[in-house]
Amino acid sequence: MKTTCPRIVNRWLSTAKVTKWFKIHRAQLLQHIESKHPASAPPRLWWVSLMAMQHFTHRTSVAFCSIQGLTTLLEQQQAALNDLVGFFKEDVGVEGPLDAEAIGDLDLLTHVTDGKYAVQLSSVHEFLCGLASWIDTLIDEAIDVDRNNLFKDIGQVYVTACNRIDSICVHRNHNNDPFDDPTALPPVLPHEIVKLSAFQFLQKIRKNTFRLDHRYSSSLIDVIADEQKALRHAYRTEPVLKDAIDQISGRSSFKEGWSAIAGARFQNLIDYCGVVATLFPGTSTVESDFSVLRWEKDGFRKQLSDIGLEGVMQAKQYCFIQQLLPPERNAA
């Protein structure tokens, strides 16, 4: 075949690569199986599962990569996860979130359920047939039990994914349980800020009053609140600004979100939102440091001292940090 299957390890991300390889080389693999008849040859219906799992792992790995960024916002991460559930609902026909009564009313012979999500086996059938031209023939040839098991397995994968991804909550309380109020964190982009009344906005920013008072002055929190009112007013009265804000979505970065609102009139509001937006949505940036660490101190450089290792890491960001402070402070 002159091709090598990617290494499969215990990480699910490697599954995305392996299933893709199987999908690309399916014809050659089938030829090989026909000529050699290996004992471990997969059954014919397995190839249908393969195509579904390739779709599933591909979609998830794209979302997984998209939430890892140096300046990804919590909102962007949530939007990426919502999009993933949305793709599964659209592609496979998963329904949800449904209330307990609606789930209880479903016929379990024709549906697969998990938590608040459900999918009809006929929808799974339609989804599988759409994955490749040869799949409907394979499904038609299979016996009823195998076919039903296949639909249930694949359906279960998607509904479990939808249910569990939907319940991901990054904001935790002191017990590391999901935070009681999912809307407790203040919004950081203009399109959400203009939706809040002055009272709602003040409620949300009040948590940081002490910090702001300590750094600036006691009146700054009111200045920020005034700027929010001014933004709401500008949104209603300035069509250009309204259009710009309406273009912003949960997928926008902080810079994209605020670039449309030029000028100094919202400076304190931007500063406030900027600091709140520094909340890390995950630890992927730290994991990337460990990647650098493992790369630099590999098996051939076990004697690399900690100061040498840290020197490499600091040297990597030296030029970037130099650009951050204004010129008058750059004379160190």
Binding site: D153, H171, N176, R211, L212, W258, T283, G311, Y318, A332
Partner: protein, 251 residues
Amino acid sequence: LFKRVDDNNLEEVEQDYSYSVKIPASKATLFDLAVRYTSCGTSFRMTAEIIGCTYDVLGDPRLRHCCRQDVSNNYIRVIGAVNLQRISDLLSRSWGFSLALDSATHQSTSYLDLRFRLFVKEQETIVCLHGCSLPMVDRHTGEVMFDIVTKFLSVLCPELKIRLVGVASDGARNMTGRVAGVLVTRVASAMHESCPLTRIWCGAHQLDLVMEYIMNNVIKERFFGIMTAFISSHAAIEFDRRHEDDLPSHC
């Protein structure tokens, strides 16, 4: 190479001192090159060697006389200090910042890595900066890690209790996560009572857990069992062939 300039105003103060480092114009190229070579991962000795080789080929007088001690003591240690000073300045200018931390063990040494995210007002941008990878030579209990973290952070930002807005960790995925979880709890309890901390459990780790659950519980036997059996049977054939190649007497 570097001239340490004492700040006369601070001379009488015992601990609180400052110094500035001036790079002579003649050494600026050498310094830039050393920083860039090191950022590519070279050790101090290798950096000095490579600069020496560069001088041999180009004959540029600005690259003369670079020794290992210069690279380690005068360049890299200094940029480490300058970086941390810059981060400290940036932290003190802002009313808040966030922290991400995690630990990992590599070649029998555990490292506790810290990253900062802060907002640079002048540029209206959020930046993510590497703080430090702290090697842990002591026991790895939450308390010891808390001591290390607070010692490091209190130097960078003396007003940590008020400035820290949120901490992200990898939650309860494994023992490391649990230790980090304890660490976050200790940091949260050390905060000023009017400055509650926002805790974040990494979204990517949670998605990872969802996927692991699906792969191990939903579709393991009827999909993965078959796939791995098929791959491993062929890997065995490949191994046999290689083994035969190594033993020409079999051919």
